[in-house]
């Protein structure tokens, strides 16, 4: 009796797995961490687009921790010799996978479709290695936004701050009035998102390049960096006591409800704003983070392509081409809240914030101020990036002095190298 049941269960398990594997020849399996809300809708856009071309979509969602669990799953898949057709990766991760020689080659499609001319170089550098296109950018996010509840500011007669000093002044006033100045979630990546803005805002683009992108010892130890940490300490005083571990969207909700006045967050916050039936740029103002006007921090989701058998190559190429098509880039980013990764897409259908983003992108590209975000994996490889997270978040959550923090940053980076 028991054994019959067991064999039935095994048979059922086998058949289930076989059917799971029985993909149509023309299908793609995509590993990503966009499981809900606008993200999932955006994936739906891509799926529909491919379906029209007769390419099936095998979903492999793994949510959690900005792709950490997905990264584990991806490593397991690749190690087992069964990589997905494509996987969502952030910029530096594409570099790291590419250096391991584990990515496929899209150059033929890229040449045919002329991607080279429409993608900004700073982004192209992550997608192209040794002259080979290995990943396709889906979007451009801008993390250096300051979101402001317009009503709170108006009621209190405040102007959006343009520098960190102005920010401090505004925040102090808000604090006096009993309003939480800054909505924040105490997670390492959120702490570092703020840190990015402060480094760029206080040190300027050249300092950001030297300290964050080039990890120049002198810059990291400089007085400017000490000032950056001083400002971080100030900001710690502007967040409410319950910030620890809070998800970013809960922080956004605080701004939407007027419990807090501002939030330093990427443009994905727009999804929350729209969902709350508010208008970005009107109810919730979008201004560049203090002192960062003219610079454009970015992070981009890529679909990195893995080497798949010849039989699946056509489908993979169709996926890549689809992702890069102007129509998809427009449709996807309208849903996702970001802006297209190619610069030749019209911004007509986008909201005010996105339009500003697109404009700022163009000028940042021409002035060389399009800079990869540390918090979002476009500045340093994971080991160094996380080591820097450690210092930033530890400083933010303790009474470590700014000098010690700057020194710890250098030590941590060297240890991780």
């Amino acid at each position: 009796m028991k054994s019959t049941f067991a064999s039935l269960a095994i048979a059922a398990a086998l058949s289930a797995s076989v059917s799971g594997f029985a993909l149509a020849q023309d299908s793609v399996e995509v590993l990503h961490w966009w499981t809900s809300g606008g993200e999932a809708a955006a994936v739906g856009v891509l799926k529909d687009d491919l379906q029209k071309q007769g390419v099936g979509w095998q979903d492999m969602p793994v949510a959690g921790g900005g792709g950490e669990a997905a990264n584990t799953a991806l490593k397991a898949r690749v190690t087992s010799g069964n990589p997905p057709t494509a996987a969502q990766l952030l910029g530096m991760a594409v570099n790291e996978w590419s250096e391991e020689g584990l990515l496929g080659d899209l150059t033929s499609v890229a040449d045919q479709e002329g991607w080279g001319t429409v993608v900004p170089d700073a982004i192209k550098n992550f997608a192209v290695h040794d002259g080979k296109w290995q990943a396709v950018p889906v979007n451009i996010h801008r993390p250096n936004w300051l979101w402001i509840n317009a009503k709170v500011f108006k009621d209190n007669g405040l102007e959006p701050p343009k520098t960190w000093d102005e920010f401090n002044a505004v925040a102090d006033k808000l604090k006096e009035k009993g309003i939480v100045p800054l909505a924040h979630g105490g997670q390492p990546w959120q702490d570092t998102t703020v840190f990015d803005d402060v480094v760029l805002g206080i040190g300027g683009p050249e300092f950001y390049k030297k300290a964050i992108l080039e990890l120049d010892d002198a810059a990291l130890k400089s007085d400017t960096m000490v000032k950056v940490f001083d400002q971080m300490r100030k900001i710690r005083g502007y967040v409410d006591p319950n910030f620890s571990g809070r998800d970013w969207n809960l922080a956004t909700a605080m701004v939407l409800k007027g419990e807090a006045a501002m939030q330093l967050m990427g443009d994905w916050a727009k999804g929350e704003i729209v969902k709350a039936n508010l208008t970005p740029g009107v109810d919730i103002l979008c201004v560049t983070a203090p002192g960062t006007e003219g610079s454009f921090l970015f992070n981009t989701d890529f679909f990195a392509m893995f080497p798949v058998g010849d039989s699946k190559l056509a489908a993979q190429h169709k996926l890549a081409a689809s992702v890069m098509s102007p129509s998809f880039q427009e449709a996807f980013n309208l849903v996702k809240g970001s802006i297209p990764a190619r610069t030749d897409v019209s911004g007509d259908k986008f909201d005010a914030c996105a339009k500003k983003s697109m404009g700022d992108l163009k000028s940042a590209v021409s002035s060389g101020r399009l800079l990869g975000s540390l918090a979002h994996g476009h500045a340093e490889p994971a080991g160094i990036q996380r080591a820097m997270f450690d210092v930033v978040t530890q400083h933010f959550n303790s009474d470590m002095s700014s000098k010690d923090a700057a020194a710890a940053l250098v030590t941590a980076i060297n240890a991780a190298r």
Partner: protein, 293 residues
């Protein structure tokens, strides 16, 4: 020997061999592989460029690891002590010939049934000052009540202890209850005749008789503590700052998030060694003389 006898004689080996082979590969093979990797400069994937003890130096130079080890001591110590005491206490209570014993047992046991995804979601809520306990008590009228362990770097590790203890205590209780029910009644009657009060009977006779159960409970708790990973990830993700980092979360993040496979392997090797230091003496004492002739 006839063929059928040979088959009979070979059966035990035949029965054991699949499990032994699987364990040889999937436990010891993988441990050896990990130990090997800890001597290499592996980053994202395994690379066999040997660097000697460099990864161990990096490991012990890493303040995060030091924090993780310190946290392990705090968490492990409290977890074992509190769960053992509470589990024993509940077991003694339940053993007082109470009504609805089954219901109480089920209530204390059910947390064992929950996965960390679930456990984490609940406790994150309950311990969050703005949403959970503090909020609730305040809304009941006690406005000055504060309970902010989850967000205080110095206190967050204790929230992990709370959730961990909550989850494992039922199991410890079950162990002790099973042990209590195995204690010879004669001794207890004798103690009663000698005029010992109930609490003395427990402290002087019953609990000393449960020594083997303490040992079993200790080993189970200790290895759960060292393996604890899910709880931290679900509850605090190692924060605030790095204040709830444990060796297991450190190892995971090094290996999978930071692409520092070598350091991750070194930390895993250190963890396994300390685990072995606890388990091997236990196994030795368990297996030495409990075979029947």
């Amino acid at each position: 020997m006839t063929l059928s006898k040979r088959i009979q004689a070979a059966l035990p080996a035949f029965v054991l061999s699949p499990s032994l082979a699987a364990i040889a590969i999937c436990v010891y093979g993988f441990i050896a592989y990990t130990a090997l990797l800890s001597f290499t400069g592996s980053k994202m994937f395994a690379k066999f460029d040997f660097v000697g003890l460099r990864q161990y130096e990096r490991l012990f130079d890493n303040p995060r690891w030091i924090t993780a080890v310190e946290n392990m001591a705090i968490f492990g110590g409290l977890y074992v002590v509190v769960a053992t005491c509470l589990g024993l206490y509940i077991a003694v209570l339940i053993d007082q010939k109470i009504r609805l014993e089954g219901v109480f047992r089920a209530i204390f046991l059910y947390p064992m049934a929950l996965s960390f995804v679930v456990t984490g979601v609940i406790w994150q809520w309950l311990l969050n000052p703005g949403l959970g306990l503090e909020h609730m008590v305040r809304s009941l009228g006690w406005q000055s009540f504060t309970f902010q362990w989850l967000v205080e770097p110095d206190w967050a590790i204790y929230t992990i202890v709370i959730a961990g203890v909550w989850q494992v205590t039922g199991f410890v209780m079950a162990l002790f209850l099973a042990g209590l029910r195995g204690v010879d009644t004669e001794i207890l009657r004798a103690a009663r005749v000698d005029g010992a009060p109930v609490h003395k009977v427990y402290t002087r006779i019953v609990i000393p008789a449960l020594r083997p159960v303490f040992l079993t409970a200790f080993v189970i708790e200790a290895h759960l503590a060292i393996k604890s990973y899910d709880l931290v990830v679900a509850l605090t993700k190692g924060g605030p700052g790095v204040s709830t980092e444990l060796p297991s979360t450190f190892m995971y993040s090094m290996t999978f998030t930071r692409n520092e496979l070598g350091v991750g392997a070194a930390s895993a090797t250190v963890m396994l060694t300390s685990l072995a230091a606890i388990i091997v003496p236990y196994l030795y004492s368990e297996l030495r003389d409990d075979r029947r002739a």
